[in-house]
Symmetry: C2
């Protein structure tokens, strides 16, 4: 499939001559691996969001910092756009290459530089895989908490660029909460240290600004993350509900009871059935919704919390609450959840995964709104999400071979995100804006806010060479897209009633 | 006392005519309270750091957003510098007014707008006192975690501007970790929303960027904070050590054991004696160092943790570990710590409080380094600090009436902060840079990093009207100050050996 995207709305890009750039690069960095043949470039034409595909002009695969530095200086000098890429597992087209730009693959920077068990930190290169950090820290009883579904493959540099999340974010925070320091290169090849090894760094918090900036501000060359001690025990409860609203209420009640689960996930009936068919996790296929609630910590504490959560779930209307009897069943319960996306992929030729975030109290209403919008657009929507922090992943099922369905799916997705914004939420929780949600940014922010984003971008990258066309829309795009800023509670869209 | 400061190093400020500005303001905002007589202006000449004093040209005390908006537009139009101020309790001269500028006092914006117990958030105006938020949330069993010593008086707007900390930061994070959303006005009077009510906001993380920006980027007009459930129980242990090094080791061991105390504070002998004389907290006056360790959470958990921490402390060499027998003793133990600054104020006509942060493992070495520097400069230094997160508050005792002592104290303070930077730490943990530490920023950052700070500043405030001369030094200042960037491990200062 190929979702329509009009890149003329992002303003003109500099004209770059491929042969000249190749020659200049080979001259400036003789030992740099560069891909330039069509068949070599093909594998880099998209990231985890396959809806958009563009063949890059050139792909550079550096191994050393000085190579990256020289490459950036050259690109800056010749006004060549640069898109950085880690493992390419992102889901919003953030690492999508440009036809007239260089794709800078940082995957070969894959060394763990130092694990400091006393300080509980790991200093690693940006191409190190998320899971590899936890594996390296395991002998010290430590781990790295943020765990996106792609953690076996995704790299920490990409995690920082996208401010990646995961099942454990509710308790342990997003990537930004688990970072101490990064080393970056500016587009001019200048080395900068953002953050520090200590509690806090003075001056502006450029570490947080950089986290989630999606490659628009600089190139990450080193990352120092915080490590956490592995919890003694982890238990998981599976609760069944005969309505999505009751499950939503249980989520709010658990949090209100002062319990912070390690993970708190919801799936609706369509998702439950798909996962059960695929994984045989032992899910109740007749339930309208299930909640998976993991509690971790020290033994006595977890035991008490399990009892309290069970009580809260039953009071909120759960028809059944089961605790995984052993580690094998716990892993099976999670396997169903973690494979929900591919499971739903078996139901439909194509699906489109959204990533809206809403205040928890709005869950029941927004789920009703999604169901209504789905019916209106004639498309099925499965819901799988990080319920505890209000991060929803509605999956729109469609068939790109049916005329018009792709467009309908895209339009429905946009409406769902706008609904999230209306109730005070946002258009992304953990997948980033990338190219995918760039139009919805016009709904999220007003023109003063967008102007400020551009001013910040200009502070780092005055010529706009780093990952153009992603994350921050041009004001021109927003004007063309026609969507104005939605203030929560207002209704600029006549077809969307407030529920 | 009056620490020397050469404001010419911050570049020229616009010339403003007081009478004309007063007239223009009275015309533009007829119902705005403005102070302009010398005796009215006097109370605003400094913040909590009384070392610097400047009489502001005018003080504005708005009550409504539209007044602030109009005022800012006018100041922007006429290039009038604006310094925002909350309660004025800051300790780094961040709210120090300008002779040729307007002091914008936000203290009258002191309404709690909404407490949402289900979402566990409070939406408040910037002049609301830190403690007042917890008091308003108490009926719901909730509280606001960051608790600077000044929490009874300091306002949340100032907390955001300085990214304030407190005893509980180790476990619950700094201000930035406890914020959801802020409303701000740009210097042009434009309303901006940074952050969102949901987990995460897309685009650049301007909320984090703004937090701790010390009034250089805009005026905070509304703050939405996260609330936490009050822990069921809190217990405190008091451990005595015959050397500061052993206490430092105990801190590292507690953290390494995977325990995260609610608070973990250290005091050295000079601080212990001063506090005991003043408060009669029951401290062991012969100990070289004490640790106060608070454990909070559910009953069973806290009980277990107390046993484990006691064991770790004894193994690290504690000569005695006492648990507060009851709530009254717990409060007394903390009262000694919380009054340590005024207690030390009784020992000496003047003291100068530093706020360096270092990696925890460097504690013993840095304490030795401070002792050596103190001897070298012939001044006593007491140490009181948030040991758990490596945030030190060395208090330099001196007498401003003795010729040269003020200068020696200031020079010693600078050396101590440079020592923090050398071991990979930073020149501030929670007090901010303000005017006080602006020279040390030249040691913390290289010129590429400082240039980037200026570029970010320009993105928000192109004319440099917001709080000029604070937080971010000019490159000219750094060149004049003569201190170049210290990379950890390097030694640009020949008189400072690496210990």
């Amino acid at each position: 499939m190929n979702i329509l995207y009009d890149e003329r709305l992002d303003g003109p890009l500099p004209e770059v001559n491929k042969a000249e750039l190749l020659k200049a690069l080979q001259h400036a960095v003789p030992d740099l691996d560069i891909l330039w043949r069509e068949d070599e470039l093909k594998p880099y034409e998209c990231d985890g969001l396959s809806a958009y595909r563009t063949t890059p002009m050139l792909v550079a695969l550096p191994r050393r910092l000085d190579q990256v530095q020289t490459l950036l200086k050259l690109c800056h000098q010749h006004s060549v756009p640069v898109v950085a890429r880690g493992a390419g597992t992102g889901l919003s087209g953030g690492a999508l290459p440009l036809e007239k730009g260089l794709l800078l693959v940082m995957a070969r920077f894959n060394n763990i530089l130092h694990i400091d068990p006393a300080a509980r930190t790991a200093r690693v290169q940006p191409g190190v895989r998320n899971l590899a950090i936890s594996q390296a820290a395991a002998p010290f009883g430590l781990y790295y908490a943020p765990d996106p579904s792609s953690q076996i493959a995704c790299s920490i540099g990409g995690n920082v660029a996208e401010n990646a999340g995961g099942v454990h974010c509710l308790k342990y925070g997003l990537t930004v909460h688990n970072l101490l320091k990064i080393e970056v290169l500016s587009i001019e090849g200048e080395r900068l240290t953002l953050g520090s090894d200590a509690l806090d760094a003075p001056g502006f918090d450029l570490l947080a600004l950089f986290t989630g900036s999606e490659g628009l501000l600089g190139i990450i060359t080193e990352v120092t993350v915080k490590l956490l001690p592995k919890p003694q025990v982890a238990k998981v409860l599976l609760a069944s509900f005969d309505s999505v609203e009751k499950a939503g209420r249980a989520v709010a009640d658990i949090i209100a009871a002062g319990i912070i689960p390690g993970g708190l996930e919801m799936m609706d009936n369509l998702a439950i059935r798909a996962a059960e068919d695929f994984i045989h996790a032992g899910y109740p296929v007749d339930a309208e919704a299930i909640l998976l609630c993991e509690l971790d910590g020290v033994e006595a504490d977890v035991h008490d919390d399990c009892l309290r959560v069970r009580e809260v779930m039953l009071q909120a209307g759960a028809s059944e609450v089961r605790q995984a009897r052993d580690e094998a069943e716990r892993v099976r319960f999670w396997a169903g959840r973690k494979n929900a996306f591919p499971a739903i992929g078996r139901l439909s030729p194509d699906y489109y995964c959204m990533d809206g975030t809403i205040p928890r109290r709005e869950l029941p209403g927004v789920l009703q709104g999604i169901a209504r919008l789905g019916a209106e657009y004639g498309l099925r929507v499965a819901n799988v999400f990080h319920a505890g922090d209000g991060n929803m992943h509605p999956l729109i099922l469609f068939d790109a071979n049916q005329p018009g369905e792709l467009h309908r799916a895209e339009a429905l997705g946009g409406k769902i995100l706008e609904l999230c914004v209306q109730v005070g939420g946002s258009i992304t929780g953990e997948h980033g804006v990338g190219r995918e949600k760039i139009n919805q940014m016009c709904a999220q922010f007003n023109s003063a806010e967008l102007t400020l984003f551009h001013a910040v971008k200009t502070a780092f990258d005055p010529r706009g060479l780093l990952n153009p066309g992603k994350n921050i829309p041009t004001l021109h795009r927003c004007a063309e897209f026609g969507a104005m800023h939605i203030h929560a509670g207002q209704l600029p869209f006549p077809d969307l009633e407030r529920f």
